[in-house]
Amino acid sequence: MSDVAKTKNVKKEMSRLANFTKGFFKENPVFVFLLGLCPALAVTGTVEASLGMGILVIFVLTSSNVVVSLIRKWIPHQIRVPSYIVIISTFVTIVGLLTEAYAYALHGELGIFIPLIVVNCLILGRAESYASKNKVHDAAIDGFGMGLGFLGALVVIGFFREFLSTGAIAYGVYLPLAETPGSIINIDSYVFSMDAFGQAPGGFLVIGLLLGIFNFVAILKRNKKERERQRMIEEKKRQALERKRQKAKEKAGANA
């Protein structure tokens, strides 16, 4: 076993890790690519509904990525999109029936947005741009990571919306997370509750504000980097000038 092979292996591991984590921040499907905005706006009224939606999307995305990657060599190029849609909607049907059987409250809350996972651009996008070109395990990792990124974004949005609209975070309502259903993490009681954030307008407002804040932070960072660079350049210029003077002085000294 040569060292070269070893480093290659390490590199591969690293890239696999990068493949897994790229969906969290750098290529976050919701905040960076604005994919799958319909569910991100519609079901994020509460943290738990967002969590449930995220779990369903992770399942569908991972399994559809795996299947698309498995049969990628047999799908004719011209009809690839319809075949992806059939694969995705099969898993969506499975997920819909499973939630109806085991998490009926969640099924009622998500409602029409469970069948609408079919037209979630994120899933079709990953099938088209990643799973159809890569090996099975890579596609599975990619699907799981991207799904986790989606879930993270949904939960962040859901947290802000639920907190702003009720002043508390409830858990155990739709998912079996608590023994007594409807437990509440009471953060600030109901002192300031803005109902609109739990309803339709809040979705647009919260995502818009979050995107704006992320942009703002990115711009601040960029400006700081720019300033740092500018300072480095000036420092180098100064040093070069100093060296020149030094040399000139030495020359003058030698001449004298």
Binding site: P115, C121, I219
Partner: protein, 202 residues
């Protein structure tokens, strides 16, 4: 069944339960194709075309094929396939019938397959009792009317939003909020206005 049902269907699906601002269906074209008023209108026309036909066909399919065979659970797969093939068909027909119409709508029609408003309205016609309570025959008319109203609502919001965005282009927006964030906040304020209409029709 009285004629007011149709009025209620159009009114409620156009204004009160607006597809974009209240149900969050079709947000992708709402944000993607709303930079210019002309393209927004073209998109809305294409959506109206496909949405009405899709509602008609999917309602028929559900009550004439899926219910008698007792395979209602393949609803999602069959509807999305119907819509995808319908979009192709409509594109071909428009191309054949009118070159001019194809030039103005052609680009948008291809995008419609992944528009969740189409599938959403088709599924909602089945799952909500509003059309389903009338059974196959009058229910079909109610379902198509609902789809028509929803498409009208989509067009209305698209037109208003694209006009606002055209004005936003020239205004002085903070650097970080330029582009999508400010558009989303605008949409939020529009949704607040539409939320005021809630509760007019039960």
């Amino acid at each position: 069944m009285s004629w007011t049902v149709f009025f209620v269907a159009i009114f409620s699906s156009m204004l009160i339960n607006n597809v974009v601002l209240m149900k969050f269906l079709g947000v992708c074209p709402f944000l993607g194709v709303s930079k210019k008023t002309n393209s927004a209108l073209g998109m809305s026309a294409a959506v109206m075309f496909v949405m009405v036909i899709a509602a008609f066909v999917s309602y028929l399919l559900y009550y004439l094929v899926l219910v008698p065979l007792e395979i209602e659970y393949v609803q999602t797969i069959s509807f999305i396939l119907i819509i995808a093939s319908l979009v192709q068909l409509v594109e071909m027909i428009i191309k054949k019938v009118s070159k001019k119409l194809y030039k103005s709508l052609g680009v948008y029609i291809a995008l419609i397959t992944t528009n969740c408003a189409i599938l959403g309205i088709a599924v909602e016609n089945i799952t909500s009792d509003f059309a389903g309570q009338y059974g196959l025959f009058p229910g079909l008319a109610v379902a198509v009317t609902t789809a028509f109203g929803a498409a009208l609502g989509f067009g209305l919001v698209m037109f208003a939003f694209s006009s606002i965005r055209e004005r936003l282009e020239g205004s002085n927006v903070p650097e970080a909020w330029k582009g999508v964030p400010v558009s989303l906040i605008t949409a939020g304020i529009m949704a607040l206005a539409f939320a005021g209409l809630g509760g007019i029709v039960g």
